[in-house]
Every structure is written in structure tokens, then in C-alpha cells.
């Protein structure tokens, strides 16, 4: 992907994040995600019905990479089943960790395909995935 386009997508999702709003609403599962080594700290809220993630939003404080990754990730997750979410997540984590992944499945999440070049930002890109991992685990119980 073109470097400028990649930056534009990330920056746009940082400065105008998708579904970032304060407050708690009925029917949502709240999951906190934070990085021990830094100050990123987000609460992500999921609404799940009939095995589908029908809505999600988030709030908190985090850097440009964490915030934008959460924004893009939530947009991709809404409407997916738990199993689809799990698959998306697995491919996303593989991409961040330089393992084989399905590019088509990830859509615009591929803007982080070179984040491994900055090892100290890998955890930032993985911040939302920690929360989704827990959601999937809890719902599969």
C-alpha cells in the first residue's frame, strides 16, 4: 500500500475515530484493554445478539496507532459472527507478528502491515485485539 495513503487512513481514524464515545449503555459487554509498558488504556463495548456482534464502541486514552487500530477493527467487526471475528483477529495478529495471513479478509486493517518495522509500536497495534480475544473466549464458554 502507498505510504501516504496508509498514513492518511491511520491518521483519519485517530483524529475522527469510528464509534468512539463516552458513556455506558444497556446491553453492552465492557472489556478494558491496556498496555502494561505504556499508557494506552481503552474500554471497548460490544453488543452481541444471536452469535453476531451487532454493535461496538470504545472510549479511553491511547496513541495514534492504538486508537486508529481500534477504530478500524470495530468497523470491521460489526455484523460478524463470533467465529468470523475470531478468524479476523487471528489473521490480524499474524500480520502484526509477520506470519502468513489473508490480506483480503483484513481489508483496510492491512494499513498496519509494516508496523513490525517499529517493534515498539506492535503492542499499540495489538491493543484492540487483546479485548476481542477476551470477548471471543468469554462467549465461547
Amino acid at each position: 500500500m502507498d505510504k501516504n495513503l496508509r498514513r492518511e487512513i491511520i491518521l483519519d481514524n485517530f483524529q475522527n475515530p469510528f464509534h468512539k464515545k463516552d458513556g455506558t449503555f444497556d446491553g453492552y459487554i465492557k472489556i478494558n484493554t491496556n498496555n502494561e509498558s505504556c499508557i494506552d488504556n481503552l474500554d471497548i463495548y460490544f453488543k452481541v445478539e444471536g452469535g453476531y456482534i451487532i454493535d461496538a464502541y470504545f472510549n479511553g486514552e491511547a496513541c495514534a496507532i492504538s486508537t486508529s487500530a481500534t477504530s478500524i477493527m470495530l468497523r470491521r467487526l460489526i455484523g460478524k459472527t463470533i467465529l468470523e471475528a475470531e478468524n479476523l483477529l487471528k489473521n490480524y495478529q499474524n500480520m502484526i507478528n509477520e506470519k502468513p495471513y489473508d490480506e483480503n479478509l483484513l481489508e483496510d486493517l492491512i494499513v498496519y502491515d509494516e508496523i513490525y518495522l517499529q517493534p515498539n509500536r506492535k503492542n499499540c497495534a495489538l491493543l484492540p485485539s487483546k479485548a476481542i480475544e477476551r470477548l471471543v473466549k468469554d462467549l465461547k464458554k
Binding site: 496508509r6 498514513r7 491511520i10 491518521l11 505504556c38 499508557i39 494506552d40 486514552e61 491511547a62 496513541c63 495514534a64 496507532i65 486508537t67 517499529q118 515498539n120 509500536r121 499499540c124
Partner: protein, 398 residues
């Protein structure tokens, strides 16, 4: 000043995170290496030459620390793993046994986690109350506001000498005087001041003092707990084992050594202690007064230059220690730190382990610049240049 003594400065690193840790002069590194290459032995164990040498060096450092903080006796100096360890020992070895339900511990919302959590633990374990002293509009703790915050139930005041966030230098001499009159215990966390300004535990009537070696040019993993001797006698060890007991029998009887060895169970950080001694000698040679003067000049210069930068907000313009908090408008502090790192400038982003500060400052996260003797005006000029050009910040960090 003295940059040639620091091997690491031969690279082009600009280190502005001296509240987190400090670089080590060659003498300190050499002292540690010498222990490992010339006379490795355990302390207090052998009758052979190298072991005796270790004993001598180890105990010599106790004397150095005693003089450095003007304690009455080297028996009041306990080696620990750092300020956190020291404060935990005081809370759980001493105060847990003498405080009762309803007794109050007075701290401030600017304290580091290591001077908050031990007291919160005691609050939940034995029912003491943790209270927060009033601060003035600049978040400064004055002796007057401290005195006004005392109640008849206050048994202990535990304060950082210098805060690691807004850079408030507390008047511990005056505070010590107030607390002595009222018969209230005084614990001082000197982690941020010990390598920067003179501390006199007797003049300030300090009951317990905690600090770390690595924030004063020494090695990591070593620190000191100072306690008035009669208090150390009453204090319980929080760790027991080898090297600290006089005897133990199968009938269940046992006896511990006198302080300080009562508190030094197991093999200590010998290399660390020897390195700490070397760091104290180094600081004595440079002169704390000279370091303090250098700190002040640099801090004033940094503040003046930062205020020139349009899109930068300084959050503690009244800082007394060489420690400035700032943010670039509209940029998350971690992104700022990553941006500066691109130019080899190391700053800290975050809440700086003072998670209650947000209640007072209204801002959760900031970037922090903390200076020390080897920092220069030229380094500050470089920082200002990079900050002035920060319009391209996202091209660098994304």
C-alpha cells in the same frame, strides 16, 4: 558537566529521562566490574582474603551513606533493593505493628505508587485511613498546608522530598520540625532528590528515609533504608533467612541480629552496594551544590525555550526541580515520545507512576523531561528545534 566520564554519552543519545534512571560514570561501572573480575566472594562469610575485602568494601559503603545523609551511625543504614523495597519494609515491618484502626497516614496525591500502595494495603489490612494533604494552586505542598491537614489521628506523614511529576521540592526541614513537635512519624521518599540536593536526616528529623541507587548514578537493584536506630530495633524484618539470625533451634527458638543486618537476609546485591559507594564518592567529588546549580540553570533555560514553542503547553511552569511536564497540543504524549525518539531524544510519556496526579492536574498523561548533571543547553536547543518542526509529527510516527 563531566560528560567525558559517561561512556554512553559517546553515542549521540540525548537522555532527558533522569527521573526514571541515570547514566553511570565509568568509575561506577569499573567498581562493579572489579568486584566480578578481581575479588568475587560473599560478604560476612569467609576468612579468606577476597571475602574479607568484600566485607570491608561493603561496610565502607554503609559509612559513606551515613555521612552522605548525615545519619548518626552506620547501623542506621540498611541496604535494600531500592526505594520501593525500603518503603515496603517500613510499612509492613514497622507501621503495620504499631498503627491501629482509625489512625491516619497523611500523604499527597502527587506521591509515587511506592509511597501510596503500601499505605492503601495497610488501610485494607488493618483499617488505618489514608488522607491526602492540601496543595496550593501550583500543586505545591507548603509546611502551612501540611500543618492544616494534620488531625489528632495523624500518626504518620509520608512524603516525597521532590515529586517526580510537577517537581515540587518539599521543605522537609520545616515539615520535620512541625512533626517533631506533634510527635508524628516522618517518612521521606528521597528517590528523586538523593542525587540532586543535600539531605540531612537529623536536621530534618526524619524517622525513615528511602532511596534507590540507580537514580543517583549507581547500579539498579540497590537502595537504602535509613531508620533512626531505636525505630529499627523495634521494626520487624519482612524477610528472614541466612545472614540475619543469631541462632535458631529445633525447639522453635530463634534470635535475630541487631540492625542493620537483621534486615539483610540472604546474599545482598554486593556488586550493587559497591557500585553505590562509588556513585556517592563520584557525587561528593563533583559536589551536590554544583549539581543543584547546574540543574537549576538548565531547568530555567529549558522552561524559557519551551515557552517559545507555539503548539507546546508546559504544565508545571513553577517547577522547582529540573523536571518539566509538557504536551504538544492535539498529540498523545506517547506519540510525542516516539517522535522525539526518532531524533534520539529520550523522554518519558505517561502518568509517571503518580496515578493520583490526574485528580489535581486534570490531565492524565504528559511528556516529562528530567535533567541531570550531564545534560547541556545544546541538547535543549536540539529538542526545541525538533519540537518547533513537529508539524510533521505523524509523518514520523506513523
Amino acid at each position: 558537566m563531566n560528560r567525558e566520564d559517561f561512556e554512553i554519552l559517546k553515542s549521540d543519545i540525548i537522555f532527558f529521562d533522569n527521573n526514571a534512571t541515570t547514566f553511570k560514570p565509568k568509575e561506577v561501572v569499573d567498581a562493579v566490574v572489579e568486584y566480578y573480575t578481581k575479588y568475587t566472594s560473599n560478604a560476612h562469610r569467609g576468612d579468606y582474603k577476597t571475602s574479607l575485602k568484600v566485607d570491608m568494601r561493603y561496610e565502607e559503603v554503609r559509612e559513606l551513606v551515613k555521612d552522605y545523609i548525615n545519619a548518626e551511625s552506620s547501623k542506621e543504614i540498611v541496604f535494600t533493593s531500592g526505594a520501593t523495597d525500603s518503603l515496603n519494609m517500613v510499612a509492613f515491618g514497622f507501621f503495620k505493628n504499631i498503627l491501629k484502626k482509625g489512625d491516619e497516614v497523611l500523604i499527597t496525591k502527587l506521591e509515587h505508587a511506592s509511597n501510596v500502595l503500601p499505605w492503601l494495603e495497610l488501610e485494607s489490612e488493618i483499617g488505618i485511613k489514608v488522607k491526602y494533604a492540601k496543595l496550593d494552586e501550583n500543586l505545591k505542598l507548603t509546611p502551612k498546608s501540611l500543618e492544616e491537614s494534620l488531625t489528632k489521628n495523624t500518626k504518620l506523614v509520608s512524603l516525597a522530598h521532590v515529586t517526580n511529576t510537577i517537581g515540587d521540592v518539599r521543605d522537609i526541614e520545616k515539615i520535620g520540625e512541625i512533626l517533631k513537635k506533634k510527635n508524628i512519624y516522618f517518612v521521606v521518599d528521597a528517590a528523586q532528590s538523593i542525587g540532586h540536593r543535600k539531605i540531612d536526616v537529623r536536621r530534618s528529623n526524619i524517622d525513615f528515609l528511602a532511596f534507590s541507587g540507580h537514580k543517583m548514578l549507581g547500579p539498579t537493584g540497590v537502595g537504602v533504608l535509613y531508620g533512626k536506630y531505636d525505630l529499627l530495633v523495634k521494626m520487624h524484618p519482612t524477610r528472614v533467612g541466612g545472614g540475619m539470625n543469631s541462632y535458631f533451634e529445633s525447639d522453635g527458638s530463634f534470635m535475630y541480629h541487631e540492625p542493620p543486618s537483621k534486615f539483610e537476609a540472604g546474599t545482598g546485591n554486593i556488586a550493587g552496594v559497591i557500585g553505590l559507594g562509588s556513585a556517592i564518592k563520584y557525587i561528593n567529588k563533583v559536589g551536590l551544590k554544583n549539581i543543584e546549580k547546574h540543574d537549576q540553570e538548565l531547568k530555567d533555560y529549558l522552561l524559557k525555550r519551551l515557552l517559545e514553542v507555539e503548539n507546546v503547553t508546559v504544565l508545571n511552569k513553577n517547577a522547582e526541580s529540573a523536571n518539566i511536564l509538557f504536551n504538544i497540543d492535539g498529540v498523545f504524549p506517547q506519540d510525542t515520545a516516539v517522535y522525539l525518539d526518532h531524533y534520539n531524544i529520550c523522554v518519558r510519556a505517561g502518568n509517571h507512576c503518580a496515578k493520583l496526579l490526574k485528580d489535581e492536574l486534570g490531565i492524565k498523561n504528559t511528556c516529562r523531561i528530567s535533567l541531570y548533571l550531564y545534560n547541556t543547553k545544546e541538547e535543549i536547543d536540539k529538542l526545541i528545534e525538533v519540537l518547533k518542526n513537529s508539524k510533521n509529527i505523524f509523518e514520523v510516527v506513523i
